[in-house]
């Protein structure tokens, strides 16, 4: 008795009648109602009160609505009951639920297509990016190769310019009377050797012509040294290498204003103070 009274006072029965309880709570109330008649009576009293409250707010339906309802129901009751259930369920759902479901389903469908499209785009993008990256690499390599080529050409051009300048100078020297060309001929130790020295008496310039040089190639430890014979004494005019490989065409030597002859000896690298006469390869007198 006490238990049922306390239970009634919790207010759960009102919520039960108003349909506010979940399935579990409903079963609990129904269990209590089956156990305690006073709870069952209390529920009925609440129901009657709430029903009357609804009756107080009644609104008369439009005339003829009852016929519409009866027609619907009679159509249903004429069919088999199993069918009826499906029919009514479908009928009911068609009114409310499917609209939402259809919409969300179509949204999901759209999103799915969008996702597929996105993935497709991503794949295409990655492929395109990879291809572009590849091409870029090739282009970079080509640029490097072209740069190397360009540098080669530039150095070739500058070398050729230099060479051209020297050739022109040789041409000028040979046609200029102020320049004296001295031909040095081979000595006993190297009869095949010969070379050409240009000497500008006034300007005291001495130039060795690399194009008209035929000396045995010197090794790394030795160099050729040019001497001017001035009043019988050798004057050092500097050292040079006999190179078969390309180099400068004209080699400017030390200056000398007065010389009767020029001679070349093979000396240790860097040159000697006085010439080693037995290593003299070429010599030639200045013709006046």
């Amino acid at each position: 008795m006490e238990e049922s009274k306390a239970y009634i006072e919790t207010g759960i029965l009102e919520l039960y009648v108003l349909g506010q309880l979940d399935a579990h709570e409903q079963r609990e109330v129904e269990g209590m109602a089956a156990k305690y008649p006073e709870i069952k009576a209390e529920i009925s009293a609440i129901e009657i009160a709430v029903e009357q409250y609804a009756v107080q707010h009644a609104i008369q339906p439009t005339k003829g609505l009852d016929q519409q309802i009866f027609e619907k129901i009679i159509v249903h009751s004429n069919s088999v009951s199993a069918e009826e259930e499906i029919f009514s369920a479908a009928d009911h759902e068609a009114k409310i639920i499917p609209l939402q479901r259809d919409q969300s389903a179509s949204t999901i469908k759209t999103l799915r297509y969008a996702l597929v499209a996105c993935i497709g785009l991503l794949v295409v993008s990655v492929v395109a990016l990879y291809a572009a990256h590849d091409k870029l690499n090739v282009a970079n390599q080509q640029i490097l190769a072209l740069n190397t080529d360009k540098e080669k050409f530039a150095s070739t051009v500058s070398f050729m310019k230099e060479e051209n300048k020297d050739l022109q100078e040789i041409a000028t020297i040979s046609s200029d009377p102020t320049w004296t060309s001295v031909k040095l001929a081979g000595t006993k130790i190297s009869p095949q050797a010969n070379m050409m020295v240009y000497w500008h008496r006034k300007g005291q310039h001495v130039i060795v012509d690399n194009t008209k040089m035929s000396l045995p190639q010197n090794d790394a430890a030795h160099q050729y040294q040019l001497w001017a014979i001035v009043d019988g004494k050798p004057v050092d005019l500097g050292v040079f290498d006999a190179k078969s490989v390309s180099g400068k065409l004209l080699i400017a030597m030390k200056e000398v204003g007065n010389a009767q002859a020029f001679a070349v000896t093979l000396e240790k690298r860097g040159g000697s103070i006085s010439p080693t006469m037995e290593k003299m390869v070429v010599m030639g007198g200045v013709s006046i």
């Binding site: 129901e47 409250y53 707010h57 619907k72 259930e85």
Partner: protein
């Protein structure tokens, strides 16, 4: 009742007839309860055409679900009211309904409709409406939110910013007050 051709049966007979799928049962239920059910539905959806459509749905559902009614669990009329309320609340919360009613001022419709339409009064309870509306407004408003506006008691507590216990108490007090008048 015979004077206006309306059918009225005892609850026991009604339930049996309904479960036996006798169409007279649905006719009797309509005569006895359609106005009260429409009143409940209308107050939830606030739209007279939709309310009548839902009233049809309600009766179809009552007819089709008759087997699931268990008289040991509650009165038939309460069961019917709860079917009507659930159908109405489903409608109220459905997307198409919300979209269609965005521009309507829901709160102001009830008095207008009540004044315009012929509200039926049971002769036995004539005058009680005034007494009921004279209930303490704070008790009544919670009950009305749950019963007539489609709120759950939890939503009502949130809406009114009240503890759930207070909401339960107020619902109970409001119903106690109703019982003083009706029982």
């Amino acid at each position: 009742m015979a004077t206006n051709n309306k059918i009225s049966l005892t609850e026991e007979d009604l339930v049996r007839a309904l479960k036996d799928r006798e169409t007279i049962a649905i006719k009797a239920l309509y005569d006895m309860y359609s106005a009260a059910l429409l009143g409940v539905i209308f107050r939830i959806v606030q739209h007279s055409e939709i309310a009548e459509d839902l009233l049809q749905d309600t009766f179809v559902k009552i007819w089709n679900s008759a087997d699931s009614y268990d008289s040991s669990k509650g009165r038939l009329f309460t069961w019917m009211i709860n079917i009507a309320r659930n159908i109405s609340i489903d409608k109220l919360r459905s997307r198409d309904f919300r979209n269609a009613n965005k521009n309507q001022d829901i709160e102001n419709n009830v008095d207008f409709i009540d004044a315009e339409r012929k509200v039926t009064f049971n002769s036995d309870t004539m005058g009680l409406k005034d007494m009921v509306t004279a209930l303490k407004p704070e008790f009544n408003s919670v009950l009305d939110m749950v019963y007539f506006k489609g709120y759950t008691h939890v939503e009502a507590a949130e809406e009114l910013n009240l503890p759930l216990g207070t909401v339960k108490t107020r619902i109970r007090m409001a119903i106690m007050e109703l019982r003083k008048h009706f029982n």
